[in-house]
Structures are given as C-alpha cells and as structure tokens.
Amino acid sequence: MGRRKKGRGAEAAPLAIRGRGGTAGGLRAAGPGLGARFGLWIPAVATVMNEIALILIPLIVAGVAFAWPDERTRPWWLPVAGALHVASSGWLLVKPPAPAPGAWLGFDPLARSVLPMISLLFFVSSLYAVAYLRVRGERRNRLFVFSLLVLLGFLSLAIQAQHLGLLWVAAEAATLMTVPLIHFNGTARAFEASWKYLLVGGTGIALSLLGSFCLGYASLNAGGNGDLTFNALARQFVGLTGNFARDSHPWLVAAWVLLLVGYGTKMGLAPMHTWKPDVYGEAPGLVGVLLAGGTTTMAFVAVLRVKQIVDAAGDGAMTQRTLLAIGLFSMLVAALFLLGTADFKRMLAYSSIEQMGVLAVGAGLGGLGVWAALFHVWTNSLTKGALFLSAGNIRRAADGRDKNAVSGMAWGAPLSARIFVTGLFAITACPPFGLFFSELLVVRTAFATGSLVTAGVFLAALLFAFFGLTRLVFAIVDGRPRAAARATKNRFHETAGVILPPLAFLGLSIWIGLATPPWLSGAWTAAMQLISPAP
C-alpha cells in the first residue's frame, strides 16, 4: 500500500516543482552541470519526503517504541515524534508545496489549515504523557505509546488523503487505534466505554463507507472514469445536464446523507454523539485531548471535503441546510446536558459536542463561515487541551469524578484548578481567548447572511452552556475538600511535567486569538476558497 502511494506522489511531484519554477531554477543555477539531471529531482524528493514524512515519522517511531525494551524511558519517544512532526508540518505550513494534480496524497490548503494544529496538540500532550506515564508506572505502557503514535500517523494520512477510499481507510484505522487508548485504565467502566465506542463508532464508520460507495457510483453515473480523488470528483459534477444529472443526483443525495451521518458520528454531532461522554469520561485526559482535537478534526475535514463535491454539483442549498440544522441541534442538546451533568470529564464531552455544532454551523453558513470554522478548529482544540489535561490532574488529586464527590479543589490541586477555571472562561468564549474571536466571527457571518434565527439559537445555546459549565466547575473548585482528596493530597504532586503542558495550551489559545499569524490566516483563506469558492 505504502509503495503504491509513494509511486503516485513521485510521479506527481515533478509537475508540482515545474509549476513553482523558482526553487528548481535556483538549484539549477547553483550547479549547472547537475541541473539537467538533478535540478528537478532533488527538490522533488524533498517535497515528497516532507508530505509523506508527516505520516512515516510517527509510524516509524511507533515501531521503534514498540520494540523498545525499557518501560521507563519508552514514553520519551512520544515527544521525539511530536517534535519532528511539528517541525515538518510547520515547514510545510510556511512553505506550502504546490498542488500535485491527481495525487492520492497531498498537503493541500485544507490539510495545511488544520494539520499543524494536530502536530502542536500532539507535541504538547506528549510532554504531558511523559509525566503522566511516570505517575502511572504501575500500568504497562507499550501498547499505549504505540497506539498514540500510530494514531498520529493515521490522522496525518486521513487529513492529507485526496482520495475518497484512502480517506475512509485511514479514518477507520485511526478509529481502531483509539480503542486501546480508551481502555488504558483497564477498569470495568473503561471497557464499557470502549465497547460503546466500538459499536457506535463502528456503525458510523460503516455508514460512511456506504456513503463513499454511493458517491463513487454517482460519479460513475455522471460519466466518471473511476477517478475518486476529491478534485476530480468536484470538477466532474460541475454543470451536469441531461441523463448524467438525472442518474447521478439521487446517489449524490444518498451519499451526502450517509457521509454526514457517518463522519458526523466520528465528530460527535448530535444525535450520533452518544459515545462521546462515556469515552471522554473514562479515557485518560491526554487521550481526550487527541480525540477532541485530533479525530474530530479529521472527521470535520472529511465532511468539508464531501461538502465541496456536493456543492460543486449544485446542491449547496441542501448541504447548507443540513449542516445548519445538525449543528444547531448539537449545540442545543449539548447545552441541555451541560445543565444536568455532574461528572466534570463528561462535562468536557458535552462541551466538545457543542463546539462540533459550532463547526457545523460555520461550515453551513459557507464563505467566511468556513474560515471561522477553521479558526475555531484551532481555538477549540488548543483550549480543550488545557481543560482535559487540568481535569485529568484534578481527577487524580481528588480521586473522584463528579460534583458529589469532589469539591474544594482550589485547595487540593491549586495550580490545576486555576488552569481549569481559566480554561472554563476560554471555552465559554470570554475575551481575550481565541474562542471569543472565532465564535464572534461565526455570529457575525450569520448576521451578515441574514440568518437571524441561526444567530439567535446559536447565542442562546452558548448562554445555556455557559450556565452549565460555570455551575459545575465552581462546584468542584470551591467549597471544602472531601476526605478522599485529603487522603490523596500527599500522593499527587503538581510537578512541572503535568502543569506546564496545559499552561502552554492556554497560552497558545490566547496567542491564536490575539495575534493570528498571517501565514495561518492565509492558510485558512486558501482552504475557504477551496471548500466554498466565491460565486
């Protein structure tokens, strides 16, 4: 499988380089003798290496970590892979490779606008993981470290996949790799969560496969030649008439519904969200970070790619309506559950469902809304990182999971509690945190496009969520500490290893909102133009 992909990439890369001209020309000038033979190939190899490196680095390190004999030093492979991943995706973000038409894999504008975030998320979480796995020395970490790294590899593959089938294969593989992560704790509750995740997630992913087949069949009926790369599909459906349109349209509608339900299950949009509270409640905090910021982002990217195709076929009104409806419904459902839940890790799951609703609404609004949604992917994931990690600390310090068993954590785990409360204000979109700016942009887009009802429901859901979140967070932070917390006080130490990573996430969340770097907003603009081209 790997060989075939590489082959495709290598064929396409020289084209890309010729298109760019500048780099290749420079190298040719430097070595006139080599020019004709190597001038084209050296940068070509470099280009291919970089895109594929994002997938291969984690997979290779995963292999090394799996074979690594020492339990104590093995977790250090996580930051090693994370740092390399950040370096290569950062390099690609600043110096984007030219598009390679027809390739199955590529760092296209959409990948460029989200993948660096996942690298960053993984890197900071991996630093936490080193400290976490030292605390959890009693559990074997071989499978855990291996699965984390393979998950990163498949996330990179799925987000860069330019082919419908490849996207599905990578998304399913990423889903499966999270199962060992969820039942790391090995408790009965963790198995229950894994089981529900497998059944609900498995059904969702099966439906998205059915949807992919429907889309493939629609393409055949529209006179396609079986080329299932996204750009080819989007081009193919533009301006169809006659028999082609009549024979492909029902399949296209079926494909949209099935793919939205399928990948929406992975995103955790209501009503397909049922696995999320169980899984986020039971998985270790750092796994929650990667699920809430990584796999959901992957699924959102998949939805955007499908939307691009269905919109190109002239069904933009349908995708818009369904995304808005499902997005607002998710926000409302999440807000209502937030008012009722007592478990603070499950609370984060409902908050995540709400943020997924925001993404769907942004994508449904189209145009600037897509830009806002991509912005929101960054702000939400980074803030969630701070919340999940500090919640994990509080959970360990308090030895309890809900507000009936936990209180007074401002005493029990003072630093984590402070980060948690600050994270609460960040996730409820208080300025100056990033979410304020991204959600504001969604609301402004809604007003600008005249969707007043959308804006109204959106704001109401945010308000309810704010009530729900603050109620629970202050219930566990304030008050008198319980006996259980007093007993564990001496066992849990807020070391730099478990405090600095969530703090770093908070810092990133402020930075991204206040000083969005131009190369990043440029990437979002390019992705917006790809997904929702101006008419």
């Binding site: 089938g165 490849l166 509750r189 198995f191 229950e192 894994s194 009926n221 079986g226 299932l228 009549r246």
Partner: protein
C-alpha cells in the same frame, strides 16, 4: 450470469431473515458466516477476466468471514457458556417482520434508483440495503454482545455487497485496505469482548449501564 448473481444475493437476503428470527446464538453465527462466504464468491462472478488480485480478495473474504471470525465468536460463546439470546430489546417476531418489510422496501427503492446499464436487473442494490437494515436491527435490538457483533458483521456484508457495484472501477488497493480494516475491527471487537467477559462474567451488554446521565 445475472441470474446466478441474483440467486446468490437472494440467498444472502434469506440468511438475513434467518439470523433475525433465530434465538440460538450458534445459528446466528452460522447465518452470518454462510452469508460472508456467499458474498465472498460474488467478485469471481462479476469480474470478466481472471485477475489474481480478485481471487486473492475473494479467498481472503471467504476465509476471514466464513472461518476466522465465526470461530472467534464460537470460542467466546463456549467461554461464556451461553447459547441463547434470552431477552432481546426488539423481540424476534417484530424484528423478523421489520426485516421482511425492509427487504420489500429495499426492492422497491432499488427499482427507483438509477442503475448502470450492465447492472440493471441485478439485486445488488436491494440486497445491500436489506442486509444493512437487518444488520442494524440486530445491532440495536439484541442484548448479547455476540449477537451485536453478528449484527455488525451482517451490516458489513451489506456494505460489501454495495461495494461490488464499483468493483470494476475502484482500485483494488482500496478494496484490500477496506478488507484489512474490517478484519482488524473484528479482532479488536473480539479482544474487547473477551475483556468484558472477564470483567462482568457475562457477555450481556445490558449489564454495561454504569455510564449514563
């Protein structure tokens, strides 16, 4: 050619109903296994010229769906010492009726959806939809973890059937990837089931009710 194909698909649709109606777990497993094998043969009927990769995929499907996975399930069954689905969430007769209604609906729907010329008259689309619905019914309507896994297998079979519409055009690379993913999925499910068995001393997913609001 199309008649042989339809014969096999009809057989698969019959097996759906058999699986839905049966309360004995070994017969449910057998129905899912036979269905998997029947579907494994289909690519050989559809491909015009002999191609070794197609043969490989067919053999792989038959071995995995017909032997490996059912054996895994039977082992779990023996370990858990259970034989019957006692209290399904959707009782057997209603689920059978729903399955039959879905089969009729799928045939009607298949008549509406536009098919390519060479596939007109085949039962691929109705068979696929009916199988997906049957699998889904078992997934949500049964309490035993093993029945749910069988439901998942039947659901996958339905999707596989739909995938055959595209067999001449999708690259085999993707198909092998899909098969590989499904195999791993079933293994992971098997492992988790084993852990549930040890943890709860039964394979009854009704007992998995700690996590809720």
């Amino acid at each position: 050619m199309i008649n042989t194909l339809n014969l096999f698909i009809g057989l698969a649709m019959g097996l759906n109903l058999l699986a839905l109606a049966s309360s004995r777990l070994p017969s449910v497993i057998r129905a899912a296994a036979v269905q998997g094998m029947v579907l494994g043969i289909l690519p050989l009927l559809l491909e015009e010229e002999f191609h070794w990769v197609v043969v490989l995929v067919a053999v792989g499907t038959i071995v995995v769906k017909g032997f490996v996975v059912p054996n895994l399930l039977r082992r779990a069954l023996r370990a858990a010492n259970i034989d019957r689905e006692v209290k399904p969430l959707i009782p057997f007769v209603p689920s059978l009726l729903l399955g039959a209604a879905a089969t009729i609906g799928a045939v009607a729907l298949g008549g509406v959806l536009p098919l390519r010329a060479e596939q007109t008259g085949s039962l691929l689309v109705p068979g696929s939809f009916a199988t997906v619905v049957a699998g889904f019914l078992m997934l949500v309507g049964r309490a035993k973890a093993i029945s749910q896994v069988c439901g998942y297998l039947i659901l996958e079979n339905g999707i596989y059937l739909f995938g055959l519409l595209l067999i001449n055009t999708t690259p085999l690379l993707v198909e092998t990837g899909i098969l590989l993913d499904l195999t791993v999925a079933i293994f992971v499910i098997g492992i988790i089931m084993d852990r549930i068995q040890k943890e709860f001393d039964s394979l009854d997913s009704n007992k998995l009710t700690t996590l809720r609001e």
